[in-house]
């Protein structure tokens, strides 16, 4: 008995180690790519700091001070050490350390992506179930078209049209931005998630205003995750509905609703969690274009603004952060999959 238990714990340790190696190499790869991008850039980093009129000896001294005379592998080592301790250099545009800037803008992006994923999952999953249950019907076709258009439409274009219709013509939502200028200086956020903060402080008028700002970009992002989630839900549900336990449940005389929501969807839920996690990661990326259109002060807007000003430290820092979140979410969904589905547990 003891031997078997020891074997099991050894296996668990081996799995954990494997995970660790995967994460470490992926992260190293991420850093290697951003390092490479930072070095192949045609702008000389020294000239970027000093300008092109600095005397030669100053250029040489600065080059040495910046560590650019060291062999490449040493530079990479220093770069990794700095990046791992959260030091991505100073942003030329804002003159703050990049990490400070990112800490300030990141909650805005997360709030948007979270609300978007919520909208996408709450509408997408029922739509996918409906399409699978009524396979081949008009409803199925409509869900399919919704999904196809979601895969094919440029998000920034749809965002512009949505602004035109819902803001300019109908006046249902507020103008681009995160919060009305009236509240901008009176409202003091705690966590950086404005909706939560306003609720927490019981400021209902502020909450209403923030909601009117966030609802349009969040719905747009939600539409894109809806396209993905409903499609995957449909295929998972079709797969489950063919299984024999469904026939058995029907034979027992269970109601159709119970079979669909209680049995089939419950079994489809495990891969669905992975899909929803991945769509969350996708929205963090999709926010780059959406935030530009909606002037949403998040990470996406920060990256594109820095890009336009050749502020490479900020661009690469933002890339590393989004990449890290991507790696983290991938890993998390993998772990969730293993813990939620008893069939994949190590025996």
């Amino acid at each position: 008995m003891n031997g078997r238990r020891r074997a099991r714990s050894r296996k668990a340790i081996a799995t954990a180690l494997q995970f660790l190696v995967v994460v470490a190499t992926t992260y190293l790869g991420l850093l290697a790519v951003t390092f490479f991008i930072g070095r192949v850039i045609p702008i000389d980093p020294v000239l970027a700091v000093l300008g092109d009129r600095a005397p030669a000896h100053v250029v040489e001294r600065t080059r040495e001070a910046m560590g650019l005379n060291l062999p490449l592998y040493q530079q990479f080592f220093i770069y990794c050490r700095q990046a791992l301790s959260g030091d991505f250099g100073v942003s030329v545009l804002t003159t703050n350390p990049v990490m400070t800037d990112i800490r300030r803008v990141f909650p805005a992006t997360m709030e948007l992506a979270t609300l978007g994923t919520l909208i996408g999952a709450l509408i997408g999953v029922p739509l996918g179930v409906l399409a699978a249950v009524k396979r081949g019907s008009i409803a199925d076709q409509i869900v399919r078209v919704i999904g196809l258009v979601g895969y094919s439409v440029p998000i920034f274009w749809l965002a512009l049209l949505a602004l035109l219709v819902f803001y300019a013509r109908l006046r249902w939502v507020a103008y681009p931005g995160r919060i009305d200028i009236v509240y901008e200086y009176t409202f003091s956020p705690i966590t950086g998630f404005y909706l939560v903060d306003a609720l927490w402080q019981g400021q209902w008028d502020v909450f209403r205003d923030i909601f009117r700002h966030i609802i349009l970009p969040a719905s747009l992002l939600g539409y894109f995750s809806l396209a993905y989630i409903s499609r995957m839900t449909r295929s998972f549900m079709l797969n489950e509905l063919q299984q024999e336990y469904i026939v058995a449940a029907r034979a027992k005389g269970l109601s159709e609703a119970r079979i669909i929501w209680g049995h089939a969807l419950r079994n489809a839920a495990v891969p669905l969690v992975t899909v929803i996690a991945l769509s969350y990661a996708g929205l963090l990326e999709g926010s780059v274009l959406t935030e530009t259109v909606f002037a949403w002060p998040g990470l996406g807007l920060y990256i594109t603004n820095s890009l336009q000003n050749a502020d490479m430290n900020a661009v690469l820092g933002g890339t590393i952060i989004i990449g890290s979140v991507f790696i983290g979410i991938n890993l998390l969904s993998d772990l969730l999959y293993r813990t939620l589905d008893p069939r994949t547990r190590a025996r």
Binding site: I41, P154, I155, L160, N330
Partner: protein, 310 residues
């Protein structure tokens, strides 16, 4: 159709569907015909194919089809005309350029981006995947680790960073998109190769003394093609959207090139009053990427019935 005249002449269909083909050509044509029948039974897929043929046609004859110059506008008399104006079917932009003509010429850029990315990324992924799958061992481990690293990246953000480093422009946009889009192809090619590696015909070729390179290039890679084509077609829509997104951010094609994403960006200033300037290019992007998605779905069902999820 000179063969099989003993009893009665075969119709063309019977010749194609014959289960005893008399020549390699007949067998190939027969298979292609079966695939086409499965494919054309899906009406939406045919619509997708027609859209893309239309795109190719428009791109090929852009000079003849476009009523005006795509670059030189009529600043004096035709600024921001609404759609349906005399001589300007889709209206004009802020520099008096005909939007329809710009869209027609822009189709060349879209097609060029798609074809170039496919030509660069697909072979790279194919070779990496096939070599990794066939070689196995540490070569496989290293190549797949690299693939996974690239797969773990957010595509658009990585493309942004690459373009930021290389400088804006349509060539650099193509390179950046290609760098970010090969890993899924490597995954597919490896999976296919693993199923083929231990099959009898590979063993037979090896027994005849073929070198590993010959086996991979002549006997493994051709077998990976159909699933790869499906995947590439399905990816095309995403590639078009990424290219348009880069153009929208000012990092893709530079003015005055009539790239559709950049056209949307330049129409953004007028969206409240002259909505058509930004709307028309978006419709063009939507139609073309919808075409690729429909075609990809149809091809998947026709070539790869296992994958269709039905």
């Amino acid at each position: 159709m000179s063969l099989a005249t003993e009893t009665r002449p075969l119709t063309r269909r019977e010749w194609l569907l014959s289960d005893r083909p008399q020549s390699r050509l007949q067998a190939r044509l027969g298979r292609a015909y079966m695939t086409w029948r499965r494919f054309s039974a899906n009406r939406l897929a045919v619509v997708g194919l027609l859209i893309l043929l239309g795109l190719c046609f428009v791109a090929a004859f852009a000079d003849l089809l476009a009523p005006h110059s795509p670059v030189i506008g009529n600043l004096a008399g035709a600024r921001l005309l609404s759609p349906g104006s005399e001589g300007y079917l889709l209206g004009t932009d802020d520099q008096g350029r005909d939007i329809l003509s710009r869209l027609i010429h822009g189709s060349r850029l879209t097609l060029a981006v798609v074809v170039l990315v496919a030509v660069i990324a697909a072979p790279v992924g194919l070779i990496v995947g096939a070599v990794a799958g066939y070689a196995g061992g540490w070569i496989d481990a290293i190549l797949m680790r690299i693939t996974d690293i690239f797969l773990a990246f957010p595509k658009l953000v990585l493309a942004l960073a690459f373009v930021a480093a290389l400088g804006p422009g349509i060539e650099n946009a193509v390179i950046a998109i290609a760098i970010t889009s090969w890993p899924p192809y490597a995954r597919i090619a490896r999976a296919e190769t693993l199923t083929l590696r231990n099959s009898d015909y590979i063993a037979a070729v090896r027994l005849m003394g073929a070198s590993p390179a010959r086996i991979v290039f002549r006997h493994v890679i051709p077998m990976c093609m159909s699933s790869l084509i499906v995947r590439v077609t399905l990816d095309m829509a995403g590639i078009i959207l990424t290219a348009a997104g880069l153009g929208f951010l000012g990092l893709g094609a530079q003015p005055p090139l009539p790239e559709w994403g950049a056209m949307i960006a330049s129409g953004r200033r007028f969206i409240l009053d002259q909505w058509w300037v930004a709307t028309m290019p978006g419709i063009a992007i939507l139609i073309v990427s919808l075409g690729f998605n429909l075609l990809g779905d149809g091809l998947r069902d026709a070539l790869d019935p296992r994958e269709s999820g039905q």
